[in-house]
């Protein structure tokens, strides 16, 4: 038998109870089957409101499915406690959101060091060196001592990517990481994703509206109304469906 896949969604459905009296429940995603192996670069596309973010939160163990299961290394994460899930996110997953979410009172370097310090796998000076190396790989060596507010939007987002990569995660999940970036910055971010996939065998799952960027991923999953409608290498999609 082959080894279980790194990340697998089996019949994942997420339903929110309707807000307010008599409001119908909201189906965010429905009956999702998805398998992501090591070294895969997956783009999730779909029209606005199709459930891309919701799916990413479920795959990233930030949210729990209403039905179905998310498995890591074949293990059902539904059975895990909140602290155990937190530990999994810390050690094996990395998140990038559309908004950078850097801690405003800490410098660039400190922000990148936070996940490593929390994991505590390396001594402090090693952590610092690793954080420097990651920042340098994103062209941020001169921004180490700057506070987020002193950086440009593109730099901030690159720092957020650096932070997501801090603990050398097996899976990086990014929700429209380039949504607020110009083409050059967006390309830099995708270069980094391509590099960690190609050179380090990591997996990247990225939600994006940008079809040119999506084309750089080896595989494309297209969502409509909370369901996967197509999944494959460079699967052609209806361009006008994208907002």
């Amino acid at each position: 038998m082959s080894a279980p896949p790194l990340l697998e969604a089996r019949g994942v459905t997420r339903i929110l109870p309707g807000e307010g009296f008599g409001a119908p429940p909201v189906r965010l995603v429905e009956d999702i089957d998805l398998t992501v192996g090591a070294g895969e670069f997956v783009a999730i596309t779909g029209p606005s409101g199709s459930g891309k973010s919701s799916l990413l939160y479920l795959l990233g163990l930030l949210d729990r499915p209403s039905a179905g299961a998310v498995l890591i290394d074949g293990e059902d994460t539904g059975a895990l406690s909140a602290p155990a899930l937190a530990r999994l996110r810390l050690a094996r997953l990395g998140f990038v959101f559309q908004f950078h979410f850097l801690l405003p009172e800490f410098t660039t370097l400190e922000n990148v060091m936070i996940p490593m310090r929390r994991l505590g796998r390396h001594p402090q000076d090693e952590i610092r060196e690793r954080a420097r190396a990651i920042l340098a790989s994103l062209g941020l060596q001169d921004a180490e001592r700057k506070l987020p507010e002193q950086l440009s939007g593109g730099m901030r987002q690159r720092v957020a990517v650096a932070r997501a990569l801090a603990n050398d995660p097996e899976i990086v999940l990014a929700d429209e990481p380039t949504g607020n970036l110009d083409t050059r910055n967006a390309a830099t971010v995708f270069d980094v994703f391509a590099r960690i996939v190609g050179e380090h065998g990591r997996s990247v799952i990225v939600v994006t509206h940008d079809l040119d960027l999506a084309a750089r991923a080896g595989r494309r999953v297209h969502l409509v109304d909370g369901r996967i409608v197509s999944d494959g290498p460079h699967s052609p999609v209806v361009p006008q469906a994208v907002a």
Partner: protein, 418 residues
């Protein structure tokens, strides 16, 4: 493991909102500081007062009275209650402690105990054309000096001079002023029984308490017994103890043994001591309220931080921080505000104590007897109490918002912010 990181994040967030943090810290510091100052002031005064009472007054007084009137023989004979005796006229017995010598000897056998007999009775003092009535206290100087500190308050003459001079008398400064008499003057003392004795003023005392200084005089026990026509009678035995904490229990033992009403200094001063309790209750509730307000301030700042920091909380949680980590980040902030506030408050309290202690009054306060300033207690207790209370309340005040922060769902926030 994650503790230094949690503290770093907590302190980073506090530093970011300097003004709010400083205001909260000041709130705690003021509460703690004033609490310490007021507590030290009150405690100082109360301790001083008690020490004065203990210093001047005997620790136990045996009086020639009974707490419960003697059972009438007729009532005793019909114990079932068929007979009630009302309106009993007191027997015309000579009041006084019976067999005072024997009791004195028995008391003095107790280690750490000094006892002195006194007979106290009213007399009118006459000097030239002036009259003044005082309570003349008959004492044995050798015993008396071991029991009360009247000697310390004497501004002229000594207690032994009562022995050296025939019919010597020591007057309170107020009484001497009324009479216009000074040391060496010959005055006449007349008792209610009509006995008149010529006496020589051999000393003066000033306790600062007007009632005593105007209304008391000291003479030999023998002399007073002659004046009052009560030979060998003593109407109180005063006792001083090495260990004042034994006063109340010992008083009960003595009363049980001898039957006479026996009061410890605590019982004698119970009205003042209970006043102190009320005073303390008021003080602790007022200053406690200040600390409570400070705690609300902390609750407020932590709540504000939690509210403003929802995004940071979301990202920390998505990075893999647990609910416990998040709760700790915010309760550490409350603790830090409490700790810095408590430390500054202790400094402030100390400074206030020194300032209050340096104040000098222009008037002579009779109660404070020659003290021209506040008497401050310098005990560590108010510091420990107020500091500890501030720490505990600060931590408690941050628990609620910290738990709210811990329970925030990152998905809700990330969704809203994107």
């Amino acid at each position: 493991m994650a503790l230094p990181l949690v503290i770093d994040i907590a302190i980073g967030q506090l530093r970011r909102r300097k003004r709010q943090s400083i205001v909260s810290i000041m709130g705690v510091a003021l509460g703690v500081g004033f609490f310490i100052a007021v507590a030290s002031l009150m405690q100082g005064f109360q301790q001083y007062f008690v020490s004065q009472v203990i210093d001047i007054a005997p620790h136990i007084v045996i009086k020639d009275e009974f707490r419960t009137p003697a059972v009438q023989p007729a009532v005793a004979a019909f114990a079932e209650g068929a007979v009630a005796v009302r309106g009993v006229k007191p027997r015309d017995e000579i009041r006084g402690i019976r067999d005072a010598r024997g009791k004195l000897a028995a008391l003095e056998a107790v280690p750490g105990l000094a006892a002195a007999p006194t007979l106290r009775g009213p007399v009118i003092l006459r000097y030239g054309a002036r009259d003044h009535s005082v309570a003349l206290v008959g004492v044995e100087p050798e015993r008396e000096r071991r029991v009360t500190n009247i000697e310390k308050d004497m501004i002229a003459g000594r207690l032994e001079d009562l022995r050296a001079t025939a019919n010597g008398v020591i007057l309170g400064i107020g009484a001497a002023d009324r009479l216009g008499a000074g040391v060496g003057d010959i005055i006449t003392a007349v008792s209610p029984r009509g006995v008149a004795v010529t006496m020589k003023v051999v000393g003066l005392f000033s306790t600062g308490l007007t009632a005593l200084d105007q209304g008391e005089g000291y003479a030999l026990l023998k002399t007073v017994q002659i004046l009052q026509q009560r030979p060998n009678v003593v109407n109180s035995i005063r006792i001083r103890l090495a260990d004042i904490t034994q006063a109340e229990p010992l008083a009960r033992v003595i009363e049980a043994r001898f039957g006479y009403r026996t009061e410890s200094w605590e019982e004698t001063n119970s009205n003042i001591l209970s006043l102190f309790i009320i005073q303390n209750a008021i003080m602790y509730s007022v200053t406690g309220a200040i600390l409570l307000v400070a705690a609300f301030g902390i609750y407020n700042i932590i709540s504000t931080v939690v509210h403003e920091k929802t995004r940071d909380i979301a990202i920390l949680k998505s990075l893999g921080f647990t609910e416990g980590d998040i709760a700790r980040i915010f309760s550490v902030q409350g603790f830090v505000v409490g700790a810095i506030g408590a430390a500054l408050g202790c400094l402030l309290g100390w400074a206030l104590i020194e300032m209050l202690a340096a104040i000098r009054f222009d008037f002579n306060n009779p109660v404070l007897r020659g003290q021209r300033g506040f008497i401050m207690s310098r005990s560590a207790l108010p510091f420990i109490f107020a500091g500890g209370f501030a720490l505990v309340s600060a931590s408690a005040a941050s628990i609620l918002p910290a738990r709210r922060a811990a329970r925030l769902n990152p998905v809700d926030i990330v969704r809203g912010a994107a």
